[in-house]
């Protein structure tokens, strides 16, 4: 059995008071005995089966040895005594289980973090391209419907049956031409601005001011084809996925530290705007292609932009530059220019009905 010389010093807290006892420790066949070295008086006896270590050397400098169910603690700073205790009582082996060298851990976790962030970035930037179409359509549609309800809660929706049938008919023909496998729904909202937008799940929203102020049906068809471009490329869903993913990266890196999160949000905003400009260019190109494919007049996109430019000569997207969600209008006019040839997108009756959709 071990003699006193093998027992180094440790600190014992009784768990009842804040007294500190300098103790020596020695085991018997079934107990760990703490006693005062000065007079060998016993301070505590712990059954070996009830002894355990809280924590580990990777986190605690001196993981406390405790008796289960008790607030008492034995703190062993002396490495030699720790080694002895671990030898006597297997349950105390965490006292000597040193963590991996710190340089190895730093290199391992550091490179894992860089690799994971790079993968996450790639997954967000490129993965959303592939993942968005795979997201169940009914979920995208549910999301789109709820956003639509929220955005239009205080607006008046137009219900002209024939007008809605005309615009929905063309929208679905364009979507089919792009092999989009789901139905598309177009809502018309009374009033302005002169705008249209797309929500997840193939939901399009047109403001009636856009229809009223369009010079001809080719312009409405052009804008519609552009929005269908967003639909068939799943731009709204991709945008949401990217935004969420980038926010996540920002939060992970900043540890939630508010000022850093704000900086990261600023960066995310710029990235979202860059995504927005890329989406708009893609939708412009696709819209014109789809109209061409169906043999319809495809000059409406550029003539609509031209009309917007005439009304507001200052190209706000060009002025805003990196802060704009859209490419410069002059660039878009050039990119979508087509001759005024092809079948009319709507019959006269359809176009009249669409003009009167809100009346």
């Amino acid at each position: 059995m071990a003699g006193d010389s093998r027992a180094g010093r440790a600190r014992y807290y009784d768990g009842q008071t804040a007294q500190v006892h300098e103790v020596a420790v020695r085991p018997t066949s079934h107990e760990l005995v703490m006693y005062r070295p000065a007079d060998s008086s016993i301070v505590a006896r712990w059954p070996i089966g009830e002894v355990t270590v809280l924590g580990d050397l990777g986190h605690e400098a001196a993981p406390p040895v405790v008796r289960r169910g008790s607030d008492a603690r034995l703190i062993v700073e002396d490495p030699e005594l720790r080694r002895q205790l671990a030898g006597w009582v297997p349950a105390l082996s965490p006292l000597v289980r040193a963590p991996a060298p710190v340089t190895g851990r730093l290199a391992g976790f550091g490179s894992a973090l860089v690799a994971l962030l790079a993968m996450l970035w790639l997954a967000i930037d490129y993965g959303s391209e592939f993942a968005a179409p795979l997201l169940p359509h009914h979920l995208q549609a549910q999301l789109g419907e709820s956003v639509y309800d929220e955005l239009t809660a205080d607006k008046t929706e137009c219900h002209g049956r024939q007008g809605l049938a005309a615009i929905n008919g063309l929208a679905n023909r364009l979507a089919e031409a792009a092999d989009y496998p789901h139905p598309v729904t177009v809502h018309v909202i009374k009033g302005g601005p002169v705008n249209a937008f797309t929500l997840p799940g193939g939901i399009l929203v047109f403001y009636s001011d856009l229809i009223d102020q369009a010079k001809d049906e080719a312009q409405v068809a052009g804008v519609l084809a552009h929005e269908i471009g967003h639909v068939v490329h799943y731009h709204p869903t991709k945008g949401l996925v990217r935004q969420y993913g980038l926010d996540l990266i920002g939060k992970v890196l900043s540890g939630g530290y508010s000022d850093v999160t704000t900086l990261a949000s600023g960066g995310n905003l710029l990235l979202a705007l860059r995504n927005g400009r890329a989406f708009e260019r893609e939708a412009d190109t696709t819209g014109v292609k789809l109209l061409d494919k169906l043999g319809l007049r495809a000059d409406g996109v550029s003539s609509f932009f031209q009309q917007m430019m005439e009304k507001e000569p200052k190209d706000s997207a060009a002025v805003l530059g990196i802060w704009s969600s859209h490419p410069p209008t002059t660039e878009r006019i050039e990119a979508t220019k087509r001759p005024a040839i092809g079948k009319p997108p709507f019959t006269d009756a359809e176009w009249r009905a669409l003009r009167n959709v809100c009346r």
Binding site: R11, Y13, D14, G15, Q16, T17, A18, Q19, V20, L54, G55, G58, H59, E60, A61, A62, P63, P64, D71, A72, R73, I75, V102, T103, R105, L106, F109, G110, A112, L113, L116, L117, L120, E150, A153, D154, L248, K251, V252, L253, S254, G255, G256, Y257, S258, D259, V260, L263, A264, V319, L320, G321, I322, W323, S324
Partner: protein, 399 residues
Amino acid sequence: MSETTSPWARPAAPAELPAATPQVAEPDLAPSRPTYDGKLGELYAIYLRHLVLMVLTLGWSRFWGRTRLRRYLWNHISVLDDRLEYRGRGLELLIGFVLVVLILAAWAGIMWLVWVELLGERPFGNVGVFDLFSLSVALIGFPLSYVGQYAGLRYRLSRTRWRGIRFAMAGSAWGYGATATFLGIANAMTGQLLTPVVSVTLARPRIANARFGTLPFVFAGSAGDIYGRFVGYYFLNLLAWGIALAVAIASIGGTVKALDVSGEDFAQLFSQPSLRTVAIILAAVVAAYLLFSLLILPLRCWWQAYWFRYAVSHSRAGNVLFATSITTRHMWGFMVLNYLIVVLTLGLGWPWVTHRTLRLIASQLWLYGVPDGTVIGQPPGKGPRFGEGLLEMFDVTGI
């Protein structure tokens, strides 16, 4: 000095005692400082592991990561040769967070039901039910962040042990939240002139309600003690702001005039930035920072260092007195440099900042005396079962 209760119940002037009075034993005022023996590399290893797991679990591992970091930091701080011990669990933090999420979800559900059933889904002007919910959460978030700070402190103290004895926190978090909200609004309405009252009133419950086991802490501060210094700081601060603004306006105006650039040129600069523009903007930010730091921040650090020294030296735990000699320069490192480290490293400098802060505390906090361990027992109750949900939701949670 407004310390009215001597920890040893000793008369203020022992020389006037009658000769027959038995001598009161001199208190043990042996000075000591806490020690911090953490290693920056080890702290970073734990932190990087935490970040890796955060990415893998989409942020849900943060409760466990925070717990691991606390275990490391607490156990590398020793007071009177005995280490602190942190025994909180990640699961407790997760449950605390989920509970607050459920309460908010219930609140959202009630609002939605009222909107659908009673109001027939009619919007309130241009405001939808989602906007109203966000607004209501933002409004209650302000007082709840104070409640969360107090409740979070209670949780952390209840999971902290020294010499085997748990810390504890009495008092009502809701009461603290109400007081802090009221004082925050009052201070804003009086141009921050109530700052000493706010500081002392909010420090008192946080210190005086803290317990080491059965031993309460005592705070003997009074706003009256620090008003003189504050008024000096307040008006010097106004003067410094005036000078800083005047210098900034003059230098910006002078630069614009000298470069002869129009508003459109400016718009062009910011919307289509070249590398040169970015460099110029960075240089301007650095110049603004230098100006701001030269005039404003030292004053702020001076005041904060004073307030820290005051608050610490007016606190005690039984017969253990506290004191600190923290200076304006220390406070500069603590407030300004730490902030810059975290922001400029996009958060990755957090362990470095924590390490610096704990080393500062270890070098500048003095304890006089030792507690009588024989009379200190475990506090009644084991503290809250879950923790920090409100803090997580409505406040920035550091470690």
